[in-house]
């Protein structure tokens, strides 16, 4: 049962990302990436890491892909993107081959030993609790560091994006917008 699920979802994931890379239709690529992200979460569920699986869906599919979709709206997504170069199949084949080889080289010595989890799931407690236990003991410092970095990124984002937050274009009359635009243009010229 588990093997069937694993191979099905690996096939689906690879197929989705294959479409994302090979398609020259922007909307196909976007939907395929989103679907691929969802299928990846299936592996977390198969391994019993339900919490990480749900987070994978929320963060990647829900948040990041939605932002991508926002950006995609500035293009005409119904047209096919004209790519000038033909995909160089030789380079592609060789790079895929070398990537597979590197995986084999790195993973061969590990496979020969029995793989043992560093922090096996503690029996008798829920999956989200187990994550909390590990996060707040073994990985406390990386966790806090990541939190601080995210806070810094958030403040930087607000400062970069919020330069004219006090001015709402929807509340201004057309003449006011034009005057503001001209002022800005004249400043740009003088600088």
């Amino acid at each position: 049962m588990e093997a069937i699920a694993f191979y099905t979802f690996s096939f689906l994931t690879i197929a989705m990302f294959w479409i994302a890379v090979m398609s020259n239709q922007a909307l196909y690529a976007l939907s395929a990436t989103a679907a691929g992200m969802i299928f990846i979460s299936a592996f977390f569920f198969l391994l019993g890491a339900d919490f990480l699986g749900a987070l994978q869906i929320i963060v990647y599919t829900g948040a990041i892909m939605a932002i991508y979709a926002f950006g995609m709206m500035f293009f005409d997504t119904t047209r096919v993107v004209k790519e000038r170069h033909r995909p160089p199949f030789l380079v592609m084949g060789l790079s895929i081959l070398s990537a597979v080889l590197i995986v084999f080289i790195v993973s061969a010595p590990i496979i020969s030993e029995n793989i043992v989890a560093h922090h096996p799931v503690i029996e008798g407690i829920d999956n989200p609790q187990a994550i909390g236990v590990v996060l707040f003991t073994k990985y406390l410092i990386p966790f806090e560091l990541a939190a601080v970095m995210l806070l810094v990124a958030m403040i930087a984002g607000i400062i970069l994006a919020g330069k004219k937050m006090d001015r709402s274009l929807t509340l201004m009359r057309d003449e006011e917008i034009e005057i503001a635009q001209e002022l800005q243009d004249s400043k740009r010229v003088s600088v």
Partner: protein, 331 residues
Amino acid sequence: MEWAFIAETIIKVLVVVLVFSALAGIGTYFERKVLAFMQRRLGPMHVGPFGLLQVAADGIKLFTKEDIIPTGVVKPIFKIAPVITAATAFMAAAAIPFWPEFTVPFTDYVVSPIISDLNIGVLYILSVMAIGLYGPLLGGMASNNKWSLISAARGASIFISYEVITGLSLLAPLMIVGSFSLLDFNAYQSAGVTDWIVWQQPVAFILFWIAAFAETGRTPFHLVANDHEIIDGFGTEYSGMRWGLFAIGEYANMFFLAFVMALIFLGGFGDGSVLGALGLLLKVSLIFFFFLWTRAAWPDVRPDQLMWLCWKVLMPLAIINIVITGFVLMF
């Protein structure tokens, strides 16, 4: 045992899908009747007694209408978008307990009417409902229609606003109960009305309620299909059952969110007696009625007003609520 489990799960899935598809149709009837009552009209009256068969007439119309796929749309994406909305709405229902445990009459077979009691229940429901956004988004982008595209943009702006509020407002009750499972939430409040989480977490309840309006895209946050454009936003190019799937997804989402709110904040089905179970249905109906009442009473807000509300008012409130809850739990 194994086969009994598989058969039981399939039956549960079928029941949920059939009941809530039908409820989506009946929901439209109640919506029209309630709106009509509040606007001093009669609403649907002609088909059947009190217009009750209007649902069947609408259903037949939707099913038999030609499924038009305009030229110039991105066909596969255009076709799959409504399916995403409907499917994710029903997938979210997998972790919702609709009724307390009961034994099948004349046997000793115990049925627990939840399809799968995941240990990440609430998180699963939120994440799957979050994927539902892709229906309007992809539908609008694939439609090759400027209004649909703008509607999809509004949908994305709603989404990035409410998602944070939903998560943060649920954190405080989660901290109190210490579990993601809706069954545990129910067990925590099973002693009686005084144990309902809404008394401990009124702020979280109201925040989640507001976010639920944005999540289902109901008035006052009915921005996805902006009514004063007279067309149906992302659904402009859709016809027949594909449009119907969008509607079913929207109404099913309303019912499921009403169940989630009743289970998390309003005591769920209580001690598990039949009376408690009927109480759950009553609470769900009241929340559903409130969705309709709001639609009759309030105008829509603009997207920038929604984002202002979510990011500048509701999010700080939610975070303050979490901090206070944390302090109270700690000391």
